[in-house]
């Protein structure tokens, strides 16, 4: 019942506003700010222009903040020009800074700049912009309309939130606090304070003005970029019991940092990682096992483009140190201590065509635009500049656990650019937040890439050999190889379906052959993987997860395997497929359930798995045209 009363009062109020007289400044402001429920958007936009024109002629300084906001943000609608003209008529010096800014803004259309100069002339001010414009300060003498005593409040209800006459005693609900009975503070906050950072109004608008993060310094011709830092604590166990007098400990810790930058003419990326495993098992008595494994890796890549063709250089280093100590419970002659060291240093040079980039961040901007459009709050498309500003802001805020600043900054940027027409209500805020929290927007490949590389490297391996004095590791010393790879990614159906695939082949060249003192194999590998992912969302953009289907085919040969030199059945073939569902918890974390089928060497395997990963600090950027 309360809701019905509220709607009825709102309809009456809207009717009154449409027919409002020039003196009804608060009513005009409210109408400019909020689209009446019973009016379609095109009609409202038309009448809104009339309302702004009347405000500009009202001589009432309460209209100044509204017109300043419109002059600043409405750069593509005639309403912005009407507001600029109105500011000149109102004669308030508070409008001077913004008019100077418009008059000197080369990005503005010439008629707007001319109107701003004319308005400045009416105010007796020069067209030169001050060095430190007083942004964030509300116009002098023009407090927000919601706090002013108005001569003709729309419904006659004082702006204190007092329930209207006749409201039941419990009237703190929708009727009593409805938009009619109480001047909407949020609206006057957005418009009434004029600039972001005013001392009155919405938290979504005001706070980020002072708190927008410093954006990362990235090249102007940046096409895409990504940064990923992941720590994985696989396990850390410590046990001791007095029953068996047995101590055991093990830890498995790893970390990887990866960064990649894609520019028009070049691209580069690197990753560095470390992995440590340590364990101790010390039962009662003499027996004891100790072991540790330390692994360090680093990879780098640089590409130089001419059109879509590129030259590429890669480098990879890796080292692994392993240590084990074993003491037999009964026989000291069985004790064993072993330390091993291996190291790789490799480079590769080659050429390729195209590129595959992670466009997840660009998809986030597109989702944002679709969300605003569905809520009828999208004033104009999100342009490249705003898209870049949004993505770099998210990048800068990637380390924050809370999404609060990401939300407030996003709203502020969209409002400032005139893209978000109204200050978001609770529903729209929730939907924007869902877009910002969407963890399905990382590692979303787009494009095609193929490359061929020749690799030269030196592999240091432990000196273990078989009976024929051949290295057990298979390859060691100088190793040359040919590497081919290809990748493809496409985002379809409003970015809710992804198709991707990779192909890879490797063949060793110039291996020391039969008769050599150091005979080594010539293995090859060729494989391809295809993946289809369908991302699912709820009605308000809540992400549910992803269903994925993956197929993998591989063919390999050990190439006169040192372990099996006389085996002619060296060729291996495996076909596998996986169907899974992943539920995302945060940017780099998720739970996954999957069923797997594999066929290899005439054997079949069926399986199901449940896995959990946890990570932090994902961010990315992709040019809007990708």
């Amino acid at each position: 019942m309360k809701r019905l009363i509220g709607i009825a009062v709102a309809v009456i109020a809207a009717s009154r506003i449409v027919a409002a007289q020039p003196a009804d400044v608060p009513g005009q402001i409210k109408f400019v700010e909020t689209q009446p429920a019973d009016m379609d958007k095109s009609a409202w936009k038309e009448k809104r222009r009339d309302a702004v024109r009347r405000l500009g002629q009202s001589k009432d300084k309460r209209a100044v903040p509204v017109l300043i906001k419109l002059a600043e943000t409405e750069t593509f609608d005639i309403i912005g020009e009407i507001a600029i003209e109105g500011l000149g008529n109102l004669g308030d010096q508070a409008a001077v800074p913004v008019l100077q800014k418009i008059a000197n803004d080369a990005a503005r259309e010439k008629p707007q700049r001319e109107l701003a100069k004319k308005a400045l002339g009416k105010l007796g001010a020069s067209t030169t912009a001050p060095k430190n414009p007083p942004t964030g300060t509300p116009p002098t003498g023009t407090p927000p309309t919601g706090t002013q005593p108005t001569g003709t409040p729309p419904t006659g209800t004082p702006p204190t939130g007092t329930p209207p006459t006749g409201t039941p005693p419990t009237g703190t609900g929708e009727v009593g606090t409805g938009e009619v009975s109480t001047p909407p503070e949020t609206n006057t906050g957005a418009l009434g304070t004029g600039k972001l950072g005013g001392d009155k109004g919405s938290a979504l608008i005001d706070k980020p003005a002072a708190g927008l993060p410093a954006l990362p310094n990235l090249p102007d011709d940046l096409l895409a970029g990504s940064e990923r830092l992941t720590f994985v604590l696989g396990s850390a166990l410590f046990n001791y019991d007095t029953v068996r007098e047995r101590l055991s400990f093990d830890a498995d810790v790893s970390g990887v940092f990866a960064k990649r930058i894609e520019r028009e003419k070049m691209a580069w990326g690197f990753d560095v990682g470390a992995h440590v495993i340590a364990g101790l098992i010390n039962p009662d008595g003499r027996a004891q096992s100790r072991g540790s494994l330390i692994q360090l890796t680093g990879n780098g890549e640089a590409r130089f483009y001419t059109g879509k063709v590129y030259g590429i250089g890669k480098a990879a280093i890796g080292t692994q140190i392993t240590y084990i100590s074993f003491k037999d419970d009964m026989d000291a002659t069985q004790d064993d201590n072993d330390t091993r060291f291996s190291a790789d240093l490799q480079i590769a040079l080659g050429a390729g065509f195209g590129r595959v980039v992670d466009v997840g961040s660009a998809i986030r901007v597109r989702r944002l635009a679709r969300t605003l459009d569905a809520a009828k709050a999208l004033g104009k498309p999100i342009g490249e500049e705003t898209s870049k500003k949004l993505q770099l802001t998210w990048w800068a805020l990637r380390g924050e656990r809370s999404q609060y600043r990401a939300l407030t900054s996003t709203v502020a940027i969209l409002r400032e650019a005139g893209i978000l027409l109204v200050e978001p209500d609770a529903g729209l805020s929730f939907e924007i937040l869902n877009v910002l929290r969407d963890t399905q927007l990382f590692q979303r490949p787009s494009g095609f890439d193929a490359q061929i590389l020749f690799s030269e490297g030196y592999l240091k391996r432990p000196d273990d050999t078989d009976m024929d004095d051949r290295p057990l590791s298979g390859e060691e010393g100088r190793v040359e190889q040919l590497l081919l790879s290809a990748g493809y990614g496409a985002q379809l159906a409003d970015d809710t379906v992804e198709i991707s695939g990779t192909g890879y082949a490797r063949y060793r060249l110039f291996a020391p052959g039969e008769g050599s003192d150091n005979q080594q194999p010539t293995p090859f590998f060729a494989g391809a993987t295809a993946r289809l992912r369908k991302f699912t969302y709820g009605e308000h953009g809540d992400q549910f997860g992803a269903i994925d289907l993956l197929g993998d085919l591989r063919v390999s040969s050990d190439g006169d395997n040192v372990f099996d030199a006389n085996d002619e059945r060296d060729l291996g073939l495996r076909l596998s497929a996986q169907l899974g569902f992943t539920y995302f918890m945060n940017q780099a974390s998720g739970v996954r359930v999957a069923g797997t089928f594999a066929a290899d060497g005439g054997e079949f395997f069926l399986g199901a798995s449940l896995s959990l990963t946890y990570g932090l600090l994902d961010s990315g950027y992709a040019h809007g045209k990708l």
Partner: protein
């Protein structure tokens, strides 16, 4: 149980004509530039990595073959270890390079008791 290490090496040294080796992964050979992600940290995942690397065979059909340390034996042996030793062996196999896994069954050394 040193015999596990010996079995890994023995399997790698040739199990005979009744053996199915299985297909390799891209990182089986080639060094750091052809690296793969870590294996799944289960007994089955660790044993798949050993097959992928050519450290053990997928299947040795002759049950009387003393070198029959294939994928199935590998899973059974890891599952038979005490929980703390099982963790260590699986973590070690999952993280090690293929060249290390082929050489000496180092990771199974952590399961000795």
């Amino acid at each position: 149980m040193k015999w596990i290490v010996c079995l890994v090496l023995a399997a790698a040294c040739g199990a005979g004509d009744d053996t199915s080796d299985g297909a390799r992964d891209r990182c089986a050979f080639g060094g750091a530039i052809t690296d793969c992600p870590d294996a799944t940290k289960t007994s089955q995942g660790a044993c798949w990595r050993l097959v992928d690397c050519g450290a053990i065979s997928l299947e040795v059909e002759d049950p009387n073959n003393p070198n029959a340390f294939d994928w199935g034996e590998c899973v059974d042996d890891i599952d038979d270890l005490t929980a703390d030793r099982r963790n260590l062996v699986i973590e070690c196999v999952a993280a090690s390079t293929c060249d290390e896994l082929r050489v000496n069954g180092f990771c199974f050394g952590l399961g000795q008791q």
